[in-house]
């Protein structure tokens, strides 16, 4: 596990060299590789959330339609929730090996589970009167879904997307288990490189910043998509 590369034959870097928490020169020197890991992190997060929502939306629609489906869907999602990420990646690993696919599938499962709950809550929150009125005005089921349900439920959907995105950003780091953890590679890489603090802190701060930026971006998208909500304030 520890493959420490000491500077000299007898001197360990941890003993001799200073090991600052913050080191701008580290970031400058390793800019390209940091950006590479950041890119992987973003690709994994976006991919997982997109796949998760594409599966979660039809599931939520089905679960709203029949109560018999809603129970099992929610129970299963609770169980998947509870499985720790380390175990999840280890379960998927024999099928997909040491590839980014392993991480992507695991993350997509987790975001799917978060999104199904929020989508279902959002859809159930659409007032029956409104749907009734729309149907009375001659809306077909597809138009009813797209123009009434989706818009009424949008704030809940977006809240779900924000939670799913932020927690997926944090969770991607566990992908180091199969060598595709995005910025998590920096965290564990720094740990294995003789506890190199600058690298660890860069990875950790990068994750937090990425999560915050993603959250702010999604909040902006929500504002753009719900022009009617702005009037009320």
């Amino acid at each position: 596990m520890l493959n420490a590369h000491a500077g000299g034959p007898t001197v360990f870097a941890a003993d001799a060299a200073p090991n600052p928490w913050f080191d701008p020169s580290y970031v400058v020197d390793h800019w390209d590789s940091i950006m590479g890991y950041l890119g992987e992190h973003i690709r994994l997060t976006v991919g997982a959330v997109v796949i998760g929502s594409l599966i979660a939306l039809p599931l939520a629609v089905l679960a709203r339609r029949s109560r018999f489906l809603a129970g099992p869907v929610l129970a299963l999602s609770t169980i998947i929730y509870t499985i720790p990420s380390l175990a999840m990646f280890a379960f998927i690993f024999p099928f997909t090996g040491l590839s980014a696919k392993t991480v992507l599938i695991g993350l997509a499962l987790y975001s799917l589970v978060i999104l199904v709950r929020n989508f279902l809550t959002g859809l159930q929150g659409v007032p029956a009167d409104v749907r009734e009125a729309a149907r009375g005005m001659g809306y077909g089921s597809l138009r009813l879904f797209w123009q009434i349900d989706m818009r009424m439920a949008l704030p809940t959907f977006m809240a779900g997307l924000r939670i799913a995105t932020v927690s997926t950003v944090a969770l991607t780091t566990v992908g180091v288990l199969v060598g595709h953890g995005g910025l998590g590679q920096l965290i564990v890489g720094g740990f294995n490189a003789n506890f190199y603090r600058a690298e660890i802190v860069t990875g950790a701060l990068g994750c937090v910043l990425l999560a915050l930026v993603a959250d702010v971006l999604l909040a902006g998208v929500e504002r753009l998509l719900t022009p009617w909500a702005r009037v009320r304030t």
């Binding site: 990420s85 175990a87 927690s167």
Partner: protein, 244 residues
């Protein structure tokens, strides 16, 4: 899938359980670290949650804390504590996990105490109860289900994330998985994953039963009761609803 067969073989070998650094010893480490971390978090978070919740102050701070804690990767915190002067080992792991267990307990305690009906509080005061009595005898029992929800989510989260400590040279059941990856031993990887997942699910189930037993008032069996339709799919109001 041969990996799963090998995993069963691994789990069936008594020596893998009883040897030094075997499953039993790692399980003991895992549970010891988790228990201490959760208890420490309870000791810190519940009083603060009670103080903030029953006075109604600090709402913004609680919301910010629960949101920010979602953005910080557990792995990062575990690693940062391990390379800090605390040094890596059980102590750093315990502290990192305790820090992570605080937000769900704090938020749920806060929400629980905030949710106590103002009329009930008023009535208790009118009956001559002191502020302390109102908190201990009226608000606390009413808030207990939510407080226990917080403790349960925190405990499951801690048990789950304790396995990540193995990625940065910590102990616990995660070591079996990490070791399996190091040795390219599929059976061991799967076996470790099964143990970790089972432990997390058992913790969840055990704490559901405990909080059911502690909750005052008319009881419904925890696994049989169907949630009311209104809150069937409601996401929990806290940082709790996050995979680990």
């Amino acid at each position: 899938m041969s990996g799963f067969e090998q995993a069963l073989l691994y789990l069936n070998d008594p020596y893998n359980w009883t040897r030094p650094n075997g499953i039993l010893e790692l399980l003991r480490q895992h549970l010891a670290i988790s228990t201490v971390a959760v208890l420490a978090a309870v000791v810190v978070a519940v009083p603060v949650g009670i103080a903030l919740g029953s006075s109604g102050r600090g709402r913004g701070a609680v919301v910010v804390l629960s949101n920010v804690s979602r953005a910080v990767p557990t792995l990062a915190l575990l690693t940062l504590f391990a390379v800090s002067p605390i040094g890596f080992g059980a102590r750093a792991t315990t502290i990192a996990l305790a820090v992570f267990a605080i937000p769900p307990i704090l938020t749920n305690t806060y929400v629980g105490f905030r949710g106590v009906d103002a009329d009930v509080r008023e009535a208790a005061k009118a009956m001559g109860m002191s502020r302390r009595q109102v908190i201990a005898r009226v608000e606390f029992p009413l808030a207990l289900p939510l407080v226990m929800t917080g403790v349960r989510t925190a405990a499951v989260q801690v048990v789950a994330t304790a396995s990540l400590a193995a990625l940065v040279a910590g102990g616990g059941l995660g070591r079996i998985v990490a070791l399996g990856f190091g040795q390219q031993d599929y059976g061991q990887i799967i076996a470790g994953a099964i143990l970790i997942a089972a432990l997390a699910l058992l913790t969840e189930a055990a704490l559901v039963v405990v909080s059911w037993a502690l909750t005052p008032g008319p009881k419904r069996l925890p696994f049989l009761s169907t949630p009311r339709r209104a809150d069937a799919g409601a996401p929990e109001p806290t940082a709790a609803a996050v995979p680990l």
